[in-house]
Subunit: 484 residues, 2 copies
C-alpha cells in the first residue's frame, strides 16, 4: 500500500533543499544518472526487451537517446541562459521614478511524471519529462508504467545511485509502482503536486487534465496524447518520385510497428493516375513489412479492434496488408483508402489507431484537400511532400498546415523527433493538453517553472542569474537588449 501523502511530503521537503543547489551541481547529478544508466546498459536493455517486445537495437538506441537527453539538459543548465533573465534598471528621472525590476524563471515544486508504454527509457522513468524537471530544479515522483515495471524499477535504482554519488536529497526522485489508475489520480490531486507530465492515450491524459483542473488549486498538466500526423502528397512529386516515397513512407508507417505518437496515420492526395500508382507502390511496401509483436496485449487488441473499425466504415477499402499473417501479440500492417467525401462525413476516421496502419484519403481537388485538413483535430506534426513547383502551387495548403500542428515538415516522414532547441513536440488539443509547450528538446524545461519578479532588491540578495555582475555569464535581456 503506497502512502501518496508521505511520498509528496517527502518530495516537497526534498524540493526545499534541491532547488537551492546550484545549477552546475544539479548538472553533475544529471550526468551521473546518464553514467549509471550507461553502466547498466547490458542489464537494462534485455529486461526492457522482455517487457516491451521492442527489438534490442531499438532499445539500445533509445537508451542512448535517454542518456544524451540527460547530458543535454546538464549542458543547458550549466550554460544557464534558459532562465530568461530580464533586467530593467532603475530610472529615478522618470515620472514616477522607475524602480529596479528583474525577473527570471524559478521551479515551482514537486512534479509527477507518468512513464509511457512505448518508450521504456526515453519517455519514462529517466526520460525527457524527468530530465527536464530535474534540470529545472523540481523534484520528481515517477509513476512507473506497469507494462515495463522491472525496467522502470531498475532505472530508478540507477537514479538512486546517482543521488547518493552526487549527494542530492534522498527524495529528489521517488518511484511509485502500482497497478490501476487510482494511484495516478491520487498523485495528481495531492495538494503538494505542482505539475504533471504524461505521454499516452487520450483517455488517460484527458482524465489527468480534468483531475488537475478540478483541484482547489489547479495545476498544469502536460499530456501528449493523440495525433494522426497528416501527410500531404503533392501532384508533381507523385509523378516524379512515387517509388522512393512509397519506400520512405511505408517505412515510416510501419516503423516500430507504428507505436510512435508521430506515426503517419493519415495520408492525403489529389485524385490522379500518379496517386493511384503511388497508392499501389505504398501498398506493396507495407505488404512486405513483416508483423512484429506489439508492446503488450492491450495495445495489440486495441489495434486489431481499431483497424477493423476503420475498415468497416462507409467507403473505406483495404489497399494492402502484410503478406505474412500475424502471430500472437503481433500487429498486421495495413494500408486503407477512402474518398474525401466519406472521410469528411465520418468522425470515426479522424481518430488515432495506434499501430502500423494508415488511411489514404483521396481528394477530388485542392479545395477538398483543404477541407479534409480543416476537419482534423490538433496534431503533433503535419507533413507536406512535394517538389519546388508543388510548394509554389500549394503554398496555401502548407500555410493551412501550420495552423494544425506543433511541427510542420517538408519532404520527410514525421517519425524521428530531433532533440534540439528548436524542436516542438507538442501541438493543439488533443495532440497535447497545452500547445504552448514541448515535451522534447531543451524548451521542455519551461514546463516546470514560472517567472518571479524581484523589485528593488539589493544586488547581493538577488539570485546569481540577476546580479549586476552577471556572475553566471548568461545571456540576459538588460534594458531591452540581449547581452552577456
Amino acid at each position: 500500500m503506497i502512502d501518496v501523502d508521505i511520498v509528496l511530503q517527502q518530495a516537497a521537503a526534498a524540493f526545499e533543499h534541491y532547488k537551492t543547489i546550484p545549477a552546475h551541481v544539479r548538472a553533475l547529478f544529471l550526468e551521473a544518472i546518464a553514467d549509471e544508466l550507461e553502466g547498466q546498459r547490458e542489464a537494462l536493455v534485455p529486461v526492457a526487451n522482455q517487457e516491451s517486445n521492442l527489438p534490442l537495437a531499438r532499445l539500445n538506441g533509445e537508451l542512448t537517446r535517454t542518456t544524451n537527453q540527460l547530458k543535454l539538459f546538464a549542458r543547458l543548465i550549466k550554460e544557464g541562459s534558459w532562465v530568461e533573465a530580464v533586467i530593467d534598471t532603475a530610472n529615478p528621472a522618470s515620472t514616477p521614478p522607475r524602480p529596479d525590476i528583474r525577473k527570471m524563471l524559478l521551479p515551482v515544486g514537486p512534479v509527477v511524471v507518468f512513464g509511457a508504454s512505448n518508450f521504456p527509457f526515453a519517455f519514462s522513468t529517466a526520460g525527457g519529462d524527468t530530465a527536464s524537471a530535474l534540470a529545472a530544479g523540481a523534484t520528481v515522483v515517477i509513476k512507473g508504467h506497469p507494462a515495463h515495471a522491472q525496467t522502470s524499477q531498475k532505472v530508478f535504482e540507477a537514479m538512486q545511485k546517482a543521488i547518493k554519488k552526487t549527494n542530492m536529497p534522498e527524495h529528489t526522485v521517488q518511484h511509485v509502482a502500482a497497478p490501476g489508475n487510482d494511484i495516478g489520480k491520487q498523485l495528481v490531486i495531492h495538494p503538494l503536486t505542482t505539475g504533471v507530465g504524461f505521454t499516452g492515450s487520450f483517455a488517460g491524459g484527458k482524465a489527468l487534465f480534468d483531475y488537475a483542473n478540478q483541484r482547489e488549486t489547479p495545476i498544469p498538466v502536460f499530456a501528449e496524447m493523440s495525433s494522426i500526423n497528416p501527410v500531404v502528397f503533392l501532384p508533381d512529386t507523385l509523378e516524379k518520385n512515387a517509388a522512393a516515397l512509397a519506400q520512405t513512407f511505408g517505412g515510416s508507417v510501419t516503423l516500430g510497428m507504428g507505436q510512435f505518437c508521430t506515426n503517419p496515420g493519415l495520408l492525403l492526395g489529389i485524385r490522379s493516375a500518379a496517386l493511384e500508382n503511388f497508392a499501389q507502390l505504398l501498398g506493396e511496401a507495407i505488404a512486405q513489412c513483416a508483423p512484429q509483436k506489439m508492446l503488450h496485449g492491450g495495445i495489440q487488441q486495441a489495434y486489431v479492434k481499431g483497424r477493423q473499425q476503420i475498415l468497416a466504415q462507409q467507403g473505406v477499402a483495404l489497399v494492402s496488408e502484410s503478406v505474412t499473417a500475424p502471430a500472437e501479440l503481433e500487429a498486421h500492417p495495413a494500408l486503407a483508402r477512402v474518398a474525401a467525401k466519406d472521410f469528411l462525413a465520418n468522425p470515426v476516421l479522424k481518430e488515432e489507431v495506434f499501430g502500423p496502419s494508415s488511411l489514404l484519403v483521396v481528394c477530388d481537388n485542392k479545395e477538398e484537400l483543404k477541407a479534409v485538413l480543416k476537419s482534423v483535430k490538433g496534431q503533433l506534426t503535419t507533413t507536406a511532400v512535394g517538389t519546388e513547383a508543388d510548394m509554389a502551387a500549394y503554398a496555401d495548403v502548407i500555410a493551412l498546415q501550420t495552423t494544425l500542428a506543433g511541427r510542420v515538415i517538408l519532404n520527410a516522414p514525421p517519425t524521428g523527433v530531433e532533440v534540439c532547441a528548436a524542436m516542438v513536440h507538442g501541438g493543439p488539443f488533443p495532440a497535447t493538453t497545452d500547445a504552448r509547450f514541448t515535451s522534447v528538446g531543451t524548451s521542455a524545461i519551461k514546463r516546470w517553472v514560472r517567472p518571479v519578479c524581484f523589485q528593488g532588491f539589493l544586488d547581493s540578495m538577488l539570485p546569481a542569474a540577476l546580479q549586476n555582475a552577471n556572475p553566471l555569464g548568461i545571456w540576459r535581456m538588460v534594458d531591452n537588449e540581449y547581452t552577456r
Copy 2:
C-alpha cells in the same frame, strides 16, 4: 440580441487576414489607436469619471498609461525579437542526419477580452489584454464592462476609426455589450475562441476558467482574480522609520479607495513596542484619509459587508477608521488587527476585501510570521520592508515570500505596476489562473501565441523571422547562440 456565433465567425475570418499583415504595419494600427484615444481624451475622461467615480486626474493618468501601452507593444513588434526565433541548422554528418529545424511564436486565433471595472481604460476595451493580443496578431472580441458601458463604447469607436485609417480588416476588433454573465460564457465556450483575458473577481474568473476547461477543445484563460498582497514589516526598520512607513503604506492602502489588485490587504509584523507605535501611526494616517465614492454600488456594498465580516471574526479589533463618515457609495477606510494565532485558525481572514482596508497580523516571532505567510494563498505581490540588517536577519522570510507571488518587492508599496519587460503581474492561483504568464508588461504578448516548428523548409518558404538572412534583424538563437 447578440449573435455570438456571427461575432466569432467574423473574428475568425478577420484573423485569417490580420495574421498575415506584417508586424510593422500592425504596429501602425496600434499607434493609430493610441492617437485616436489621445484625440478623444477630452470626451473620454469625463464620461469615464461619471461612470466610474474615479477622479479626473487618475483617469487622465490611466488614459496616458493606456496609450503608452499601445505604443510600447507597437515598438515591441516593430523590433520583432519577441517571437523567440530559434534555429538549429542541418547537420548531414550526424547519425542520423539532423534536419534543419526552426521555430517561432505564432498567434492562435481570435481571443475574448473582458473589460475590468476598476480600470476603465488600462485594463478594459483598449487596455493591456487587447493591446498585447492585437500585437501578437490575434483578433479580439471585447466584452465591455457594464459599469462603464459608454466609456467602453466610445473607446471601441476610436478603435474602429484606427481600423479604417490603417486599413485593417473590419472585424479585427469587435465589441459586445450586454448585461449579465450569459454572454460571457457564450463567448468563452464558442469553438472559434482560442484564448481569454480577464481581470476581476475570483468568482468571475474561476467560472470562465471552468467553462474553458470543460470545452471539447480546452483553451487557455488568463484571469487575474484575487490577491491580498502581504507586506512584512521587519523589526529594525520599524524602530527607525515608523513615521515615514506609516505615511507610505497608509497611502498605499487607501490609494484609489483600495480598488487595486495590488492593494496591500495584509500587513505582518513581530510583536514589539516599535510595531505598536507603527500600528498607531498607520492607524492615524488611515484615519486622516477621507472617504471617496467607490466604482459602483455593488463594489461598495461588497466592501461594507467584507469589512464588517472581518471585524466580526474572533480576535479582530479595529485600530482606526477614517474620521470622516462615509456618504452614499463611499468607502470608509480602516485598519484592523489580529493576533497570528487567530489569523492562522480562520480562513475568512485570508480572503480579499476589495477596498481601502487592511489587516495587521501580529506575530509572536519569526516562526509564526513564516507560518502566517505559508497559510495564505497565491498572490500577485508580496513585500518586505526592512533595513539592510533586517534583510540579513530575515533572508529566510524573503526566500519564503518568493514562493508566494509573481512579484517580490523590497521597501516599496505594491500598488504601482511598472509596464516593462521584467514585470510579472501574475502569480500562483488564485491570484491568477496561470502563474506562468503576466498581464502587464511586454511579456503579456506571450499569452496569445504558441510555438510552431518548421522542419526542412526552403528558405523562401519560411516566415521572415526564420529566414537565413534575418531580414527583420531580430535577436535569434542560432545553433544555441544568440545573434542578430
